[in-house]
Symmetry: C2
Amino acid sequence: MSMFDIFKRRGSAPVARERLQLLLAYERKSRNQPDLVGKLREEIMAVIARHIQIDHDDVHVRMDRGDTTSTLEIDIQIPNARSAALAV
Amino acid sequence: MSMFDIFKRRGSAPVARERLQLLLAYERKSRNQPDLVGKLREEIMAVIARHIQIDHDDVHVRMDRGDTTSTLEIDIQIPNARSAALAV
């Protein structure tokens, strides 16, 4: 099973849409770390938005902060019309 | 199995180091897309480097470009001394 089969198990996106998925995990040693994953989330979303026209309704973001691991999931559906603009 | 167990199956990082892992998958419709994942890679690495002091030897990056899916894996080991600086 390749690393990314985990994406496919969610069922591939309907044909008409493209999709961008991101998983990030930060394994920390101490509890008093500042919220690195929160900062990364804002800046990574800004990077993605520079390249893909994002519609708020098409974006799902989930963050979890465990004892030693913080995680971030970003799932963006890209309607085909907008992704065609990328081809230029 | 949670989404992030896939990270753990690689064996958790030695106690002395912290770790940041990122998986990105871009499901495309057409072949002539410009290399979006390549661009995202450079800019996401720059975002991470703003928050974590990265030593070139501690970073593993893998990119795959399939027919319909491009993938990016970034795996960064963070020696504890440098991560303590984050706590400020």
